[in-house]
């Protein structure tokens, strides 16, 4: 009974933390564009808070740079369970154009933390990011929450 109630509540209140692990900003401003009245992220109960300690969903943008090799794991562990990781753009998936000889990126992000959803694109459109968060967010959080003792 209590679990079912928690599931309902969690489904419509998702806190999001945006972590740029070394991208070009392109994906980040598409997430900011999601806040605009046209897309209106908050009508779906999603709130971009940028605080890992309160986050349900971590949005990762950017290929992993030198400084993030250890810090990414630390930030991931600070987010409370249950949590979902969404990788936005080509950079966290493959390193995109930066993953060449001589660069200092350590993509993919899935080497460091488990990734639940991947959105390819350079950058993906705001509607795609929104669809991915909604597709993976509420159900995964509810399901993971149930698994916990």
């Amino acid at each position: 009974m209590l679990d079912a109630l928690k599931d309902v509540v969690r489904k419509s209140s998702i806190h999001v933390c945006l972590i740029n692990t070394g991208g070009c900003n392109g994906c980040d401003i598409e997430v900011v564009a999601l806040l605009s009245p046209r897309y209106d992220l908050e009508q779906y109960g999603i709130y971009v808070h940028n605080n890992p300690r309160e986050a349900d969903v971590l949005l990762i943008t950017g290929a992993v740079c030198e400084q993030w090799k250890e810090n990414l794991q630390r930030i991931y562990s600070k987010a409370p369970e249950p949590k979902v990781v969404v990788a936005i753009g080509n950079c966290p998936l493959t390193g995109d154009v930066f993953n060449q000889e001589g660069s200092s990126v350590y993509a993919p992000v899935s080497d460091f933390i488990p990734v639940d959803a991947e959105i390819p694109g350079c950058p993906p459109r705001p509607a795609e990011i929104l669809a991915a968060i909604l597709a993976v967010g509420p159900d995964a959080i509810a399901a993971k929450g149930r698994e916990k003792p």
Binding site: G23, C24, S36, N51, C65, E66, G102, S103
Partner: protein
């Protein structure tokens, strides 16, 4: 007390660390730490042809991605000693101004978010979306456009698309003044903005501030004045103010949007017909080129052997602007909240600023002490 803010923080959009030295609520001085988004782009571009380099230069920064490709292309056109066809110059300026408008909107919206004025934050993003539509209509993409090539632009713009852009710009112009007035005459906004984060003209010159930050402090300097297209073809003026506070910087961006609207109207009214691209053979040589990015002066220095890029150096405006913010603006700020707002008013783009990290043999970050000691990491 040292108060660290970042790298991941609700007030910051990008990973950077602000170390504020505080006394109670008062911020005495600040230090800004970089190195969270260094990808090594210059190193990757070296040894490639321009066709491969131009895509990498676009991804130096996602917000002002357009101007990077234009400057890259114009650097190589300068090596060849040629200019692109006039229609291509017009189309380049059109995209540049549209990009400037959307960048200034997002900069101002970030500032309004930092001073907790949610209403204007939403209005700014609302005004920005039609501009993104216009960019998409023209180039086919919202952020990374892939629009420039050495010798012109990738494809021609159709008449109906130019008309739609004209319509979008006219619609923006109609309601734009209302929002500027909200900021200019709002009493609470003035309390948070006026006389906060002041930088004098002397300090701006000393710290080499550029763009709206320098112009907000009375430094009348805009590289567009020296650009051949802007100099010869359009009627416009440089916007600058004297106050040097957060209000002046934000207002400067608002006024520059008005000026950009004026330029875009001139472009669409007078655009000549003709080719948009011509074949350019690049000889061996060196050139540098400067352009006015939304955040200030952007400089490219490139050396090529005719086929491969031997050496490239990119200087982005955010490096100087973030530096003057730490050195001169964040001195004796009344509250921590004002310090974050001042940082946001500088329109910092950390992805732009991350060009070089100097490491010693052990892999620790060190100070830069002479070019002769630097070795590339293999």
């Amino acid at each position: 007390m040292i108060l660290p803010i970042g790298p991941i923080h609700p007030g910051l959009k990008e990973p950077v660390r602000l170390k504020l030295k505080t006394q109670g609520e008062k911020v005495i001085n600040a230090e800004i730490d970089f190195g969270y988004v260094h990808r090594g782009i210059e190193r990757v571009i070296e040894g490639k042809t321009w066709q491969k380099g131009i895509y990498l230069s676009e991804r130096v920064c996602g917000i002002c991605s357009y101007i990077h490709t234009q400057t890259f292309a114009e650097t190589f056109e300068k090596i060849a000693g040629e200019r692109v066809p006039l229609r291509a110059q017009y189309l380049r300026s059109l995209t540049n101004e549209l990009d400037r408008i959307q960048s200034h909107f997002i900069a101002n919206s970030t500032y309004f978010k930092a001073i907790e004025h949610e209403t204007l934050f939403m209005y700014m993003l609302h005004l920005r979306e039609p501009i993104m539509d216009a960019i998409e209509l023209l180039t086919g993409n919202r952020v990374n456009m892939g629009w420039n090539v050495v010798g012109g632009v990738r494809m021609d713009a159709e008449e109906k698309h130019l008309n739609s852009i004209y319509q979008i710009i006219t619609n923006l112009e109609k309601e734009y003044d209302k929002y500027v007035e909200m900021f200019e005459e709002g009493p609470l906004l003035a309390l948070r903005s006026k006389d906060v984060g002041k930088m004098s003209k002397k300090d701006a010159i000393k710290g080499r501030a550029v763009g709206p930050i320098g112009r907000g402090s009375g430094l009348k300097h805009d590289v567009r004045e020296e650009h051949h297209t802007y100099k010869d073809e359009f009627d416009w003026k440089v916007i600058w103010r004297k106050e040097g506070d957060n209000f002046a910087r934000t207002m400067n961006r608002f006024d520059e949007i008005t000026e950009s609207i004026k330029i875009i109207k001139q472009i669409i009214e007078n655009i000549p017909s003709g080719d948009v691209r011509k074949k350019i053979t690049i000889p061996a040589g060196y050139a540098d080129w400067r352009n006015e990015a939304p955040r200030g002066e952007l400089a490219y220095m490139a050396e090529t052997n005719g086929n491969l890029i031997q050496n490239i150096s990119i200087r982005t405006p955010s490096i100087m602007n973030i530096d003057v913010c730490g050195k001169y603006m964040l001195q004796d700020v009344a509250t921590v909240a004002d310090a974050v707002a001042t940082y946001a008013s500088v329109d910092p783009c950390v992805a732009c600023a991350e060009r070089v990290i100097i490491l010693n043999e052990k892999g620790e970050k060190t100070e830069f002490d002479g070019l002769h000691k630097v070795k590339y990491l293999q």
